[in-house]
Structure formats: structure tokens, C-alpha cells
């Protein structure tokens, strides 16, 4: 394995896949980058097949066809709103593979003397893999609405979490010290405990913090793969796993900053003070039929509001649309884009302001709008568009609340204080198309709604936008 030609081939494969990642700087080249990374993995796979003698090649082929076929079919079938759930379930599948490999290798290593580092990596791969698996299943379940999105908190939750971790460490140390073929049973116990750990860990994280959880699981899945690589002594696995771990860490960090909470607070489940009922960050639009059936009481005379909104839209020359997850829940993105195109045909400049946590995973809103046929050059990041709001005639907020809450800037001591927000309140007119005027996930009242220049159109975002579109 350590001959020069094979080292060279491994290096080439790593370069191919790092090159693929570096093509992700520009949307036009990213597709090629993805293809390059896929080729790198394929090449690594072929290299492993050629370098080693195999028993039962038929079983390998059957497994590859089964797994690959299912993966391909599922990936063709999901729609863009389901992407976060799909990614979570895939993290889970990666986790299973990682802990199964670590398990088989640890059992083999139990009968021969192996270096401590190898054993420790094996245990880490096993624990992280199993915990990533169960954590991802919970995350995927919440994202796919199969599980309740609200955080589930046990009594003494943090203690349970700590206890689980301690027991896992204890069992792992015991298994490592008494190397014995019988340690298989201890390893099974270890897997079960790690699965419990993953569940206890992620069940407490609410729907709005999903972008953080999913990024974190991305990192642990990568770490699990890297530790697997150390125990089986395969540098490609180590290199790829470590890169993925780096990627997951970066995204986790970005998401935490965007939501103004430290990673520890999110995972230890410290809720915002003042939010009696944890509500989803962008939960402004209806998901269920009951919610739609509820009568919506408009705060201001609705007709007048609609007329003002229409007038503002007609008079504006520069428009910024601020979509939140509520827009996606109301399935309003296609209507919103139609509205944007109608405004453009009237000679207005229309752009979209994207907050980093608008959606269920990092960057999700961009994908949703790209699917609705928006030119990606019109999707502008928060830091780039914030200075422009004061020159804008109309800011159209669709299904977003906390991310446009000016209280984050002017008031101190609220959960939102210090969170970066979109400066919608600086626009000349603000039109808000949200389900209701309840505060967002943070529980902080949004003073934007009370401003004189703000027109609020409460109700189903898709219907509201459609009415605007027809009237224009």
C-alpha cells in the first residue's frame, strides 16, 4: 500500500477532489466541481478494488447496485423543500457505514495486538458513527415533519446527556483494556449507548435551530469517516473525512453567528428568555389545514393596507424582497418570483435579500429561489445588501419576522440583541406579507410592524402575493 506509485495515485485523487471543492467558489463552475469530486471518489473506489484481493466479489456488486440504485432513485425523486431532510438521512446512512466498519475492525483487532491510537480511533469512529446515525434520524424526522419540531426536554436533560457520555467513555475504556474476543458484546453495548446519545442530544433541538444541528452532524459524519480511516490505515478516507469535518465546522460556526447564539447554548438547550411557546423562527405561514381555517384578524384596515401596498409597489423603482421560511411553508416562492418578474417588466429593479438562516439548512433559501427560476445574481447576501436598504423604495417581507426585527439593533437585553438582521426598516416603505403579527421564534415583538411606513398584509402569503400580482 505504501509504494510510491500508490502514494502518487492517492495524492492525485486528493488533488482532484480538493480541486472540485475549489470550483464551488462560482455557481457556474460548481457543477463541474461536483463532478470532479464524484470522479475522485470513484477513482478511490477503483484503486481500492484493484489493490486488494477480495473474497465474495458477488456480494460487493450486489450491495453496490442496491445502495447506489436506491440512492439514485431517492435523489431523483425529492423536491427542493425536502433537501434538508434528505441530507440529514444521508448523514445517517454515512454514520451507519462508519460504525459498522469500526465494529468489524475492532472485533478483528481484539485478537491481535494493535497500537493504542488505532484502538482509540476505532472507538471514536464507532461512537461518532452511531451517534451521527441516530442524531441524523431525529433531525431528518423533524425536518420531514415526521417528528414534532418542538424541542423535547427531559427532566435533567443535561445530566442525562453527561451521564450517557461518561458511561460510553467507561465502557470504551473497559473494552480497550480487556482485549478479548468476548468484547464483541461490550462493543454492541457501546453502539446502543451511542445511539441513545445521538437521540438525547438532538431531540432537544428545536425546528429553528435545525441549520445548526444539520451542519454539526455534517462535521461528525466527516470525523467518523476519518477515524474509520485511521483504524483501517487508509489515507484517502482520512483525508476526505477530515475535509468534510472542516466543512461542517465552518458551516456550524456561520450558522451560530447568524442566529446569535453560541454552539453550547444551542446544544444545551438554553431557550430565549421571554419565549413561552417556542415557535419556529420563520413560522409565519400556515402548514396545516386548521391553521389556514383560523380567521385572520387584520391589525389595520385590510383594504386600505392592500391599496397602500399596491400603490407602493407601483411607485417603487427599487424593490428588495426578503423571503423567510414562512414563504417556503406557504409554497409561495413561485408566486413571489412571478411578482418579482412582473415588477421587473414594469422597469423596476428587483433583488432578493437572503439572511444566512433563512431556511432549514445553510443556504437553503437560495436553492428554493433558484428552483423558482430566479437569476442567482439577484440573490444577495445580508452583508452586501444591508447598506442598500436606505436607497430602496419598497422592502417586501414574505414569511420572515426575526430576521427583519430592528429590535435586534436598537434594544438591549432581548434574545435578539446583537443578532445580525436585514435592515428592512430603512426602506421607504415596507410591506409585510406574514400569516399573523405574532413574534417569531425569539418571542421578541417586531417594532417594524408598528412603523408608519409599514403596511402589514396578514394571511396566507401565497394568496396575498397572488392578489398583489393580479392587481398589478
Amino acid at each position: 500500500m505504501n509504494t510510491w506509485p500508490s502514494l502518487l495515485i492517492d495524492l492525485l485523487i486528493i488533488c482532484l477532489f480538493l480541486g472540485g471543492i475549489s470550483l464551488f467558489y462560482r455557481p457556474k463552475e460548481a457543477r463541474t466541481g461536483n463532478l470532479m469530486a464524484a470522479c475522485a471518489i470513484l477513482a478511490a473506489f477503483v484503486a481500492v478494488l484493484l489493490r486488494n484481493p477480495f473474497e465474495e466479489p458477488a456480494l460487493i456488486v450486489i450491495a453496490v447496485v442496491l445502495g447506489g440504485g436506491t440512492g439514485w432513485m431517492v435523489a431523483r425523486a425529492v423536491n427542493m423543500i425536502q433537501i434538508p431532510a434528505m441530507v440529514a438521512f444521508q448523514h445517517g446512512a454515512g454514520g451507519i457505514a462508519a460504525f459498522l466498519i469500526s465494529f468489524v475492525e475492532l472485533v478483528r483487532a481484539a485478537s491481535i495486538p494493535t497500537p493504542v491510537v488505532g484502538d482509540v480511533s476505532g472507538f471514536l469512529g464507532l461512537i461518532l458513527g452511531a451517534a451521527t446515525f441516530s442524531g441524523s434520524m431525529v433531525a431528518g424526522g423533524k425536518l420531514a415533519n415526521l417528528l414534532n419540531q418542538k424541542p423535547v426536554t427531559l427532566r435533567g436533560h443535561s445530566l442525562w446527556l453527561l451521564a450517557t457520555v461518561l458511561v460510553i467513555v467507561l465502557v470504551a475504556v473497559l473494552t480497550g483494556l480487556f482485549k478479548d474476543p468476548a468484547s464483541v458484546y461490550l462493543l454492541v453495548v457501546l453502539i446502543a449507548l451511542s445511539i441513545v446519545l445521538g437521540i438525547v442530544f438532538s431531540i432537544r433541538i428545536g425546528g429553528a435551530d435545525m441549520p445548526i444541528l444539520i451542519s454539526f452532524l455534517n462535521a461528525t459524519a466527516g470525523l467518523a469517516a476519518a477515524f474509520c480511516g485511521i483504524i483501517i490505515q487508509n489515507r484517502l478516507l482520512v483525508a476526505c473525512g477530515a475535509t468534510v469535518a472542516a466543512s461542517g465546522s465552518i458551516l456550524t460556526h456561520i450558522m451560530c453567528k447568524a442566529i446569535n447564539r453560541s454552539l453550547g447554548k444551542v446544544f444545551v438547550g438554553i431557550q430565549h428568555q421571554g419565549s413561552q411557546e417556542p415557535k419556529d423562527l420563520f413560522f409565519e405561514a400556515p402548514v396545516s389545514k386548521e391553521a389556514q381555517a383560523e380567521p385572520v384578524v387584520p391589525a389595520s384596515p385590510a383594504k386600505d393596507g392592500f391599496g397602500r401596498a399596491l400603490g407602493a409597489a407601483r411607485d417603487a423603482t427599487k424593490v428588495i424582497i426578503i423571503p423567510g421560511y414562512g414563504m417556503a411553508l406557504a409554497q409561495a416562492q413561485f408566486k413571489v418570483v412571478e411578482l418579482a418578474q412582473a415588477l421587473e417588466r414594469m422597469g423596476k429593479e428587483v433583488r432578493f435579500a437572503i439572511h444566512p438562516v433563512a431556511g432549514r439548512m445553510p443556504g437553503h433559501m437560495n436553492v428554493l429561489l433558484a428552483e423558482a427560476d430566479v437569476d442567482y445574481e439577484k440573490l444577495v447576501e445580508m452583508d452586501d445588501i444591508n447598506p442598500e436598504f436606505k436607497n430602496v423604495d419598497l422592502a417586501l417581507v414574505v414569511g420572515a419576522c426575526d430576521v427583519v426585527n430592528p429590535a435586534a439593533i436598537d434594544s438591549e437585553g432581548t434574545p435578539l440583541s446583537g443578532m445580525p438582521v436585514l435592515m428592512a426598516h430603512e426602506a421607504k416603505t415596507v410591506v409585510v406579507c406574514n400569516l399573523d403579527e405574532k413574534p417569531g421564534y425569539s418571542g421578541v415583538e417586531n417594532p417594524l410592524y408598528r412603523m408608519d411606513k409599514t403596511v402589514t398584509l396578514f394571511g396566507d402569503a401565497r394568496e396575498t402575493v397572488e392578489k398583489l400580482l393580479v392587481a398589478l
Binding site: 455557481p27 481500492v48 469517516a225 461542517g248
Partner: protein, 96 residues
């Protein structure tokens, strides 16, 4: 033991290079990025087939097959869906 040292070095180096490369990816593409790195983390498929390179008991065959199925599901699904997403990102000529 020296092999292990090399692997730890590979780990540290890849983490740093990865950190450097990925911190420059625009937020616009973060979802496809995560979807692609998710597919890459399924390089565990290499470990899964390597199970089959040694002597096999029944349970190793079963677990090995399960590991391969899961890893290929992850790798194929991840790359296909990333490609589908990236196809959506396009620029258009201004509307008439």
C-alpha cells in the same frame, strides 16, 4: 506506528486545507456544498469494501454488505442531488 503518525498528519493537513478552501465558498452555494461534502463523507465505502479483503465470517459478510449499501446510498444520492441543485443556479438575460 509510523504509519499512524503519517495518518494523523494527513488528518491535520486535510482539515486545514479543507478549512481554507471551504471558508471561501459563497453562502449562495452552502446547501449544495453541504450536500456534496455529505457525499464525500461516504468515502467510508472504501472501508466497507475492505472488510471483504480479509477472512469472512457470516456476520462480517452481513455487516459488510450493510455498510456498502449505506455508503453507496450516501455517495450516489449525495452527488446526484447536488448536481440537480446546481443545475438550478443560472443567470438569465434581462427580461424584455
Amino acid at each position: 506506528m509510523t504509519d499512524l503518525m503519517i495518518l494523523l498528519f494527513v488528518f491535520a493537513a486535510s482539515f486545514m486545507v479543507g478549512y481554507f478552501l471551504i471558508s471561501r465558498v459563497p453562502t449562495l452555494l452552502h446547501t449544495p456544498l453541504m450536500s456534496m461534502t455529505n457525499a464525500i463523507s461516504a468515502v467510508t465505502i472504501l472501508g466497507a469494501v475492505l472488510i471483504f479483503s480479509a477472512e469472512l465470517g457470516v456476520y462480517q459478510k452481513v455487516l459488510g454488505m450493510a455498510a456498502i449499501i449505506m455508503a453507496t446510498f450516501n455517495v450516489v444520492g449525495g452527488f446526484v442531488i447536488t448536481d440537480r441543485m446546481l443545475k438550478l443556479f443560472k443567470t438569465k438575460p434581462p427580461l424584455p
